[in-house]
């Protein structure tokens, strides 16, 4: 991974992360073929497609799990290669995966700081529990999340929606650049889904650059500013401005395609 120490001032409308001609092969299987799109602060970019279209592969490349076979990822104007998830994390790119990555026995604050604890006394690494709780409480209230019991409530006692909110808030807390949300509402009921959707909107309004992977076209229609459609590993469509969930479905099924040589 390449990093530089100087701070870069960016036009807020400029993309923070650019995916350029990214391809990925797993042996003979080509999971992604030359896919490009941008992720921009204050906008939600949707990534949709049928099962096996390459969405998960793309998320794993951006979050550093896989390296692309070819093409590049440009972070704030600089080509970047993440060797592992830790490097993507260090570059302030956070992912919320479908399977919630929370420790149930931990409270909210402990989950927030898992693996990145605030400590004192050097190698003794004594936890600064009070500060961690205070910071987590601030972050949670900034996003308007209401968790009865506060940040010392254990995750095990929470509902699915509350857990998802905690997972997203944690990712937002650490990701100052890009937030990847992989099916954030897949396992939730109607009311909980509404809560999580409004949380994502709050994040966008606060200037987060979000990539949303979803199967739910209603969510995509409501939240996304732009939508990238993947079909058989290729970018078969790009929608922006006024579009409906039905448009997305047409692209996903291949009824419409931007590709010239679409094989059906």
């Amino acid at each position: 991974m390449q990093t530089t120490s100087e701070t870069v001032t960016l036009d807020p409308a400029a993309p923070v992360l650019q995916i350029r001609d990214v391809s990925k092969n797993f042996g003979a299987v080509q999971a992604l073929k030359s896919v490009s799109f941008d992720i921009t602060p204050g906008r939600i970019t949707g990534l949709v497609g049928d099962n096996g279209a390459g969405k998960s592969t793309m998320v794993k490349i951006i979050s550093g799990v896989h390296a692309p076979s070819s093409g590049e990822i440009v972070l704030e104007g600089r080509p970047t290669l993440f060797a592992n998830p830790g490097e993507a994390r260090a570059a302030k790119i956070e992912t919320v995966f479908q399977t919630l990555e929370l420790v149930e026995e931990f409270d909210v604050a402990e989950n927030f700081y898992m693996g990145q604890e605030l400590t004192r006394f050097g190698i003794l690494r004594a936890n600064r529990t009070g500060e961690m709780r205070a910071e987590a409480a601030k972050a949670v209230s900034k996003l308007g999340i209401n968790i009865p019991g506060g940040v010392t409530r254990r995750v095990r006692t929470m509902s699915g929606g509350q857990r998802q909110a905690v997972a997203i808030a944690r990712a937002a807390f650490w990701s100052t650049k890009v937030l990847l949300l992989d099916e954030p509402t897949a396992a939730l009921g109607v009311r909980e889904t509404a809560q999580v959707l409004s949380l994502i909107e709050t994040l966008r309004d606060q200037g987060a650059a979000i990539l949303l992977i979803s199967h739910n076209m209603k969510d995509v229609e409501r939240l996304c500013n732009d939508v990238v459609v993947l079909r058989q590993g290729r970018r078969s469509g790009f929608l922006t401005g006024d579009f409906t969930g039905q448009d997305c479905v047409s692209y996903i099924t291949g009824a419409i395609s931007d590709l010239d040589d679409e094989e059906l």
Binding site: G115, L118, T119, G130
Partner: protein
């Protein structure tokens, strides 16, 4: 969000809420039940022992020290390591074999003069102790490596090493008991006798150097000072106020009472080792990021991995720590023994697990406290000791302890379920 920038922020608004929750939480039956149970059983035995034909004061200082010592080796010392391992989500059945293997290694190293090249007896004693602890630690490391790199369930791995380490112990001992003796009488020099400081009829034993006691102290005074130090540690770590307050209150009370009550007894090295190990493990598990990460790995391995925690390290190190505790148990045991049997502590791993289970450690990983496991070990040995003082038949003792293990596990599950149904965890 720049963490460094906001790190100075004081923690005031939320502090009050947290403190009041902590009061309810930490005194609840679910959280402190093991301590209540221990107090209850001690109270029962104190009453029972004072009413028999030969009434005695059960809670006399010598008996308290005696119970702690009986519990210490090997059960309590290894239970501390086992608790850390269980928290990290794994399991070790081989602890008793591993500890016996460590003890046997020390005995053989001493008997066959492996460290004779060091010149002085003191250096040999220290080398033999380090060697024994090393053997145990390597035993644990092997378990951890096989579990992690081969990907086998730790139950299976340690079921194998349970037998294999016992076999090794038998092998190196050639199936016979081994004296922990540096020199027999005929080999002893003037220097040796001078070093020993007394006449001997048997020779120079390992335990002549590391056994014995640190002198006579007032148990209440020591415990009081210990509680105050613990409170100071919690204050430095920025821990919640209530446990800190309770610890300092108990500490002050203990010190005050110690001026009026004669509660003196000899403090053995074994007790010092146990207390040091306990305090260090408690502090590391409760107040450092090393502890947090161990809980995280046991609570949700995938989440810990995604959070960038070195899960291999935090999976293998607890195995190593259990092995270290096995070695430590062997050293403290040898301090009191003149010979080691190859079938030493056969089956004692179940006692270690029982102590942890009574202390409320979950076998699923991610939860448990070393202090509570210690209380579990003390509870077990308080029962044994009380039964013996009051002459309860062995059969009844075994039945009671068996029932206790299952009942305490059931109590934890039920308390948890009840708290969950009231939405109050």
């Amino acid at each position: 969000m720049d963490v460094r920038q906001t790190a100075e922020t004081k923690y005031e608004d939320t502090g009050v809420v947290v403190a009041s929750q902590d009061i309810r939480e930490s005194l609840s039956f679910r959280n402190a039940g093991i301590y209540y149970a221990l107090m209850f059983i001690v109270a029962v035995f104190t009453y029972w022992s004072s009413t028999g034909e030969n009434p005695i004061f059960y809670l006399n200082a010598a008996n308290v020290e005696n119970v702690i010592e009986q519990a210490a080796t090997p059960v309590a010392i290894i239970a501390i390591g086992m608790t850390v391992l269980l928290i990290s989500g794994n399991f070790d059945l081989s602890v008793a074999s591993n500890a016996a293997m460590s003890a046997m290694s020390i005995a053989i190293a001493v008997r066959d003069d492996w460290f004779g090249f060091l010149g002085s007896v003191q250096a040999e004693v220290i080398a033999a102790m380090i060697f024994g602890i090393l053997v145990g630690t390597i035993g644990g490391l092997i378990n951890g490596m096989v579990h992690w790199f081969v990907g086998l369930n730790s139950f299976i791995v340690t079921l194998g090493s349970l037998t294999a380490y016992r076999g090794l112990t038998l092998l190196i001992a050639s199936d016979a008991s081994v004296d922990v003796r540096f020199r027999d009488l005929s080999q002893m020099t003037e220097e040796d006798i001078e070093l020993l400081g007394r006449e001997t009829e048997e020779g120079l034993f390992m335990g002549d150097f590391i056994g014995g006691s640190l002198g006579v102290y007032n148990l209440l005074l020591l415990a009081g000072i210990g509680f105050l130090l613990a409170a100071a540690g919690m204050y430095i770590a920025g821990h919640a106020r209530l446990p800190m307050g309770i610890a300092s209150g108990v500490g002050v009370l203990g010190i005050l009472v110690s001026f009026f009550v004669d509660y003196e007894t000899a403090i053995s090295h074994k007790l010092v080792v146990l207390v040091l190990l306990l305090v260090i493990s408690w502090a590391v598990m409760g107040f450092t990021s090393y502890g947090r990460r161990t809980y995280a790995v046991g609570g949700n391995l995938e989440a810990a991995k995604a959070a960038g925690i070195n899960v291999a390290l935090y999976t293998i190190m607890p195995f190593v720590f259990v092995g270290f505790c096995c070695g430590l148990a062997a050293v403290t045991y040898i301090a009191e023994q003149k010979n080691i049997e190859p079938n030493l502590w056969f089956g004692r791993e179940l006692w270690v697990l029982a102590a942890a289970i009574i202390g409320g450690v979950s076998l699923n990983g991610g939860s448990g406290k070393v202090m509570k496991s210690m209380a579990g070990a003390l509870l077990l040995y308080t029962l044994l000791n009380g039964f013996q003082i009051n002459r309860v038949p062995t059969a009844i003792q075994d039945i009671s302890i068996g029932v206790l293990v299952v009942a305490s596990a059931a109590a934890y599950v039920l308390a948890e379920r009840r708290a969950a149904s009231k939405g109050r965890i």
